[in-house]
């Protein structure tokens, strides 16, 4: 399968990266520097360029350098023989994506055009944290499996919030409740269906991955835990019946916004029972499953963005990670404070960079 390659990346007033312009290699790109120099910002810039979103914040206004009016990222992607230039202009909370100088049909289309997968230290929450992280995983993958997911999700969320406001302002017999509930059901069932598919694709791959790196004899089982009633009629009824409760609670009780991806180790829910090492192995298994599913769905190897490799890494995890990286046939952008610990790649397949006070130079 052919890889997606980011050949060049340039930023303008993006966080502390005032004006960066780098030419990247097709396999390993290692960015090293002390803390607070702009390493994560650089990966974030690549992610924003590829998806028009950030993996760190939902507030786009944070991305512009302090005091700057406008900011931007630009880069050249190669996919097999094809090249394209993408750019994202940022002004406050507004973004203007372009592909080869033209506005894409929609942000949703732009978001799945150039697949990237991020690994960052906070992602251990995938296994240890609340369900929101696992829903995000299903949604990232689902967006590649079914391009309509992002629109459905946005519509679903809007309908849920409109219903909730109607309930709170005009009570449980507000005349428009049936209409909002009808839309919650229509969009909610589509979201649930796509998440179910995402879980079905992710599950077996993560389970096999865990069997290779995790605790022998202790199998990981991954299942979709849906919170939407199975069909239209029962979903409608459940919403109607929960009006009083939802009004008091200030949030909807039924619906896919409460979905989870259930992770069990030897029959026990991983969260709360697994060891630190097991959690890390689960996360690595889920991330490699994400890469595989996205690759298959999109027909191209995604770019891997790995943040802060080596910070407090134990030897076993490092080894598992490097074995995994060694097998990855695509492009990798990796940041570290300790370049001497990063043993991936050969002299030819690896390019090193130094990140210092917001500037990036080859080293």
């Amino acid at each position: 399968m052919r890889p997606l390659v980011l050949e060049s990346l340039a930023t303008f007033a993006f966080r502390n990266l005032v004006e960066v312009s780098v030419t990247l290699g097709p396999s390993f790109n290692v960015f090293s520097g002390e803390n607070g120099q702009g390493k994560t910002n650089l990966l974030e810039a690549a992610y924003v360029l590829a998806t028009s979103k950030s993996f760190r914040t939902s507030k786009l206004a944070e991305l512009g350098a302090h005091g700057a009016d406008v900011a931007g990222v630009r880069g050249k992607f190669r996919e097999g023989p094809d090249y394209r230039e993408q750019s994202i202009g940022l002004r406050g909370a507004a973004r203007a994506p372009k592909v080869d100088g033209k506005r894409p049909k929609s942000l949703f289309e732009y978001a799945v055009r150039s697949p990237v997968v991020v690994f960052h230290p906070a992602e251990v929450a995938l296994s240890m944290g609340p369900s929101a992280e696992r829903r995000k995983l299903m949604d990232r993958v689902g967006a590649y499996l079914s391009p309509g997911l992002l629109v459905e999700l946005e519509s679903y969320r809007r309908a849920v919030r409109e219903r909730q406001r109607a309930l709170e302002v005009r009570g449980v017999s507000a005349r428009d409740l049936p209409d909002w509930e009808a839309l919650v059901v229509t969009h909610g069932l589509r979201v649930a269906e796509i998440r179910q598919r995402a879980a079905t694709e992710l599950g077996p791959r993560a389970e096999q991955g865990f069997a290779r790196i995790g605790t022998p004899g202790l199998p990981l089982v991954v299942t979709y835990l849906g919170h939407a009633p199975a069909d239209e009629a029962s979903f409608r009824r459940a919403l109607e019946e929960s009006r009083v409760k939802d009004r008091a609670r200030g949030a909807a009780t039924v619906g896919p916004h409460r979905d989870d991806l259930r992770l069990t180790l030897g029959g026990h829910v991983a969260k709360g029972t697994a060891s630190q090492g097991q959690h890390r192995a689960i996360v690595l298994a889920l991330k490699s499953a994400e890469i595989e599913v996205v690759s298959d769905a999109r027909g191209v190897r995604p770019i891997l963005l790995l943040d802060d490799v080596s910070s407090e890494l134990d030897a076993a995890r490092t080894e598992a990670l490097f074995r995994f990286l060694g097998a990855h046939e695509g492009q990798v952008l990796l940041t570290t404070t300790r370049p001497e610990m990063i043993t991936v790649g050969t002299a030819e397949s690896r390019k090193d960079f130094r990140v210092e006070s917001g500037s990036v130079t080859p080293s």
Partner: protein
């Protein structure tokens, strides 16, 4: 830097959609470089606009006041005045912009009703804020037999369509919804006439 008068007008222009401070001052500087008559005429016409044009009292479309009409007299728009329009067919839209988008297709044989807003509790709009009694009145007075609901394909537009369906069903008229040729979450205003025309002709029973 800019003289206060220029700044003041530029400030006013930034209220227009898509016009930032830079563009606004460019507009003012451009106007200053023109024949002074351009500024005077623009100013004169703008000052007359609010009294000369306003919503049609029947459908909500933009309508010009009759010459010499007393202040506050009801205005009737060109579509409502057009005798070739079928009064049995009524198209319900959210905003005047959407009416224009449909008119551009040149395929609408009937008349319009502009709601002026869409249901949205989040934006403070509930069922009682929609002009439903006025709509029902028109259906009855004008012998409307078919209603096309052309609210946008957004969540609020869909909810409004569903709500209208329940309110209008007892009247016994044929109800249809424009087909989703318009991208979901999209805006009718930005749909090209061909897409819009297809959405109209492919309308489905509600």
């Amino acid at each position: 830097m800019l003289p206060p008068k220029v700044r003041r007008i530029a400030q006013l222009l930034t209220r227009l959609p898509g016009v930032g401070e830079k563009t606004a001052s460019r507009y003012v500087l451009h106007l200053l470089a023109q024949d002074p008559a351009v500024c005077r005429e623009l100013g004169k016409e703008l000052a007359l606009l609010p009294d000369a044009v306003g919503p049609c009292s029947r459908c909500g479309n933009l309508a010009e006041s009759e010459e010499e009409a007393p202040e506050g007299a009801p205005r009737i728009c060109a579509v409502c005045n057009d005798p070739r329009r079928e009064s049995s067919l009524l198209c319900v839209v959210g905003r005047v912009h959407d009416l224009f988008a449909i008119e551009r297709t040149g395929t609408m044989r009937g008349r319009y009703f502009v709601l002026g807003r869409l249901l949205s509790p989040l934006e403070g709009v509930g069922p009682d804020d929609l002009p439903i009694p006025k709509l029902i009145q028109r259906v009855q007075d004008e012998g409307v037999t078919e209603i096309i609901v052309a609210t946008p394909p957004s969540v609020d537009g869909e909810a409004t369509a569903l709500f209208l369906k329940r309110e209008l069903l007892p009247l016994g008229v044929a109800l249809s919804r424009i087909a989703s040729g318009v991208p979901h979450g999209g805006d009718l205003e930005y749909a090209d006439p061909i897409t819009m025309g297809r959405a109209l002709s492919g309308r489905q029973r509600l």
